[in-house]
């Protein structure tokens, strides 16, 4: 919900509440004041009449029977409300009534004075009309004001938002936010600018770290590897040393491969591959299949290629090779002897299907790092993680499906 709509909702709620309260207070107050005024008038008239009767010694003539009547001595002295039917308007009208005794020539008479009260309904009508009008006016103008404010006052906020949306960590220049005279927004801009600067610095540090780590690790490994290769050239090398050297040599190679794989993974995660060029994926598939030929022949795999549509994707060529290579290698490696390897490349997706033993674990777990089906394998088990990272990087989707009939595993890259 928009901030404006939410504020308006609260404004409306508050105004409605105030309106009800105001109406109530105004109504009771007004009625009370009016009643008081009428009472006062009645008391004045009583004083006047009593005085006149005392002076003249005669009862006043009745001209308005609605307002003054003279009765026998049955009444008690009172000031009260009553309702009298108005034959003209055909409705009951509220009256304030005062009854009091007077003595004329030794005889007691009861005089009753009546005064019509303003009808409650009429008062309410007036009050409601006025209050509603005021409220509508108030709320309407608030809406307009808010709308204008949100367009004008919030403009810097929107500019900040737009700048943030367009911001990319890899860009060399830092985020530039326009100055604003409003304290809150200028504080926000300051905080955002600081944050992006910090994140960018971290990113650069991380990038440098991966590059340096790669360099610092690969150099000693290169020294180890070269020295060991020189060592085995020595014909005098005792036989028991050969085994040890070989183990160290293999371990160094393994470490180097592992390190290269991890460096590649972190580089993809850090989005350090920016330049994409159109890569013919069908050509990459064919090239990779050719490279794997020995391994496919050894397992006597049945290779079904096709359709192999001329699909082009904008990718880093190295990453395209790595993605397809890892998927194909996986399909060959985990295939059964005499099994099937099927490759389909369409504009929408690349599908690689292979026969293989049914997985006991969740297949998507195999995409995790260092997950391997066969724990004893020398491969670090990063191939599918790399493939998945590359997919994520380019917004492709890597999915797995299994058909029990024929135990067919399919990895699909949806472009």
């Amino acid at each position: 919900m928009k901030l404006l709509a939410r504020t308006n909702r609260y404004y409306l709620g508050l105004s409605a509440l105030l309106f009800v309260l105001g109406t109530g207070v105004l109504y009771t107050g007004l009625q009370h004041a009016l009643a008081h005024e009428v009472d006062e008038q009645l008391q004045q008239q009583r004083t006047y009449l009593t005085e006149r009767i005392r002076v003249t010694g005669a009862l006043p003539t009745i001209t308005m029977p609605q307002e003054l009547t003279i009765d026998g001595p049955t009444r008690s002295e009172s000031l009260r409300d009553t309702v009298i039917f108005d034959p003209v308007e055909h409705e009951a009208v509220p009256f304030r009534v005062i009854s009091f005794p007077v003595t004329v020539q030794g005889q007691r008479h009861w005089l009753t004075l009546r005064k019509s009260l303003l009808e409650t309904e009429d008062i309410l009508k007036v009050i409601l009309t006025v209050m509603l009008a005021v409220m509508a006016l108030l709320f309407g103008s608030l809406l307009l004001l808010n709308q204008w404010l949100s367009r004008w006052l919030w403009a810097p906020f929107r500019r900040t938002l737009k700048a943030l949306r367009g911001y990319q960590l890899q860009q060399p220049q830092s985020l530039v936010l326009p100055a604003t005279p409003i304290d809150e927004f200028s504080e926000l801009n300051q905080a955002v600018a600081q944050l992006t600067q910090r994140v960018a610095a971290d990113y650069r540090a991380l990038k440098e770290f991966t590059e340096n780590a790669a360099h610092e690790t690969q150099t000693p490994l290169a020294i180890m590897q070269a020295q060991l290769e020189q060592l085995v050239q020595d014909p005098e090398l005792p036989e028991r040393a050969v085994g040890a050297v070989q183990h160290v040599y293999r371990a160094a190679l393994r470490l180097s491969r592992l390190h290269q794989a991890l460096t590649l993974l972190s580089k993809i995660e850090n989005r350090q591959f920016t330049d994409g060029v159109p890569v013919q994926l069908d050509a990459v598939v064919q090239e990779k299949l050719r490279q794997l030929q020995d391994f496919m022949e050894a397992k006597e795999l049945r290779l079904e290629v096709g359709p192999l549509a001329p699909v082009s994707a904008v990718m880093h060529p190295g990453l395209a090779e790595s993605l397809i290579g890892n998927l194909l290698q996986n399909a060959v490696k985990h295939n059964l002897p005499g099994g099937l390897l099927r490759v389909h490349l369409r504009a929408a997706a690349l599908e690689i299907t292979n026969t293989g033993p049914e997985l006991r674990t969740d297949p998507m777990l195999l995409l995790g790092r260092f997950r391997k089906h066969n724990a004893a394998s020398e491969s670090p088990g990063l191939g599918l993680s790399i493939a998945e990272q590359i997919c994520t990087y380019y917004g492709f989707r890597l999915s797995y499906s299994f058909i029990p009939a024929g135990t067919l595993h399919t990895l699909r890259v949806t472009f």
Partner: protein, 244 residues
């Protein structure tokens, strides 16, 4: 597992008619000495430079057949050395060796005119094979065939003669033979051979078995043509091509 190493065509060996001069630019002392030792043993005349300044001075003063450049030097970038060489229209081949493995460096290096790029760590035999390939490509006046004992090979035609009789080899057998010929009298580890032949696929489970099978077939074919038995198995380690 596939990393980013691209595949270069199989290296092609030559028998040098005259001494080849190489400049090794590498700041890490142990690696520099190993490279010097190895390349001298392989028959090259080598000079070394420990840093950018030394290297720059040497390439300005002397002519080399090939320069081996490490990209990260304490006082400069190896890429600038490549630039200098190209600006001077030097005839020297350039082989970049780098630990950064950053693809941008590789692309940039090759765009600048380097002949090849090798990522650290590398197999010495692989380095030698690449070097020979660069030198062969540069020396057009050089002999275009390789002679080794009773073998003659014409790499341009992928033709192998044993005692002047043509020998039919599979692609892999041919690649293996050339790799051996690039590194005579040297134990080639199975790991180095596997990486030379299959690149990123080298760590597939069966690759050593394939090497064994391919070598068995290669030897059998050579013997059938009456060739001497110069491919020796070094137990547990790998193979060696014996010159005598």
């Amino acid at each position: 597992m596939y990393l980013l190493a691209a595949h270069w065509p199989a290296a092609v060996a030559v028998v040098f008619l005259y001494s080849v001069k190489i400049l090794i630019v590498e700041d890490e002392a142990p690696l520099r000495t190993t490279l010097l030792d190895f390349l001298r043993h392989s028959g090259y005349i080598c000079e070394i430079a420990e840093n950018y300044e030394q290297a720059h001075e040497k390439i300005k003063l002397y002519q080399y057949d090939c320069v081996l450049v490490d990209l990260t030097l304490p006082d400069g970038s190896g890429l600038d050395l490549v630039r200098t060489l190209k600006a001077d229209h030097s005839l020297a081949g350039v082989l970049i060796i780098s630990a950064r493995g950053s693809l941008d460096d590789k692309v940039q290096g090759l765009e600048l005119g380097a002949d090849d790029y090798l990522q650290k760590p590398f197999h010495l035999a692989e380095l030698n094979a690449r070097l020979r390939s660069i030198i062969r490509r540069r020396q057009f006046q050089g002999q275009r065939h390789i002679m080794f004992r009773d073998l003659t090979i014409f790499p341009d035609q992928t033709l192998v003669l044993v005692k002047d009789q043509p020998l039919t080899l599979t692609r892999r057998e041919y690649d293996l033979l050339l790799f051996l010929l690039a590194n005579p009298n040297r134990v080639l580890t199975k790991e180095a051979i596997a990486e030379h032949i299959w690149g990123d696929d080298a760590d597939m489970a069966d690759s050593f078995d394939f090497i064994y099978t391919h070598f068995k077939n290669l030897r059998k074919k050579l013997q059938e043509h009456g060739a001497d038995n110069y491919i020796r198995t070094v137990y547990g380690l790998g193979y060696k091509l014996e010159t005598a």
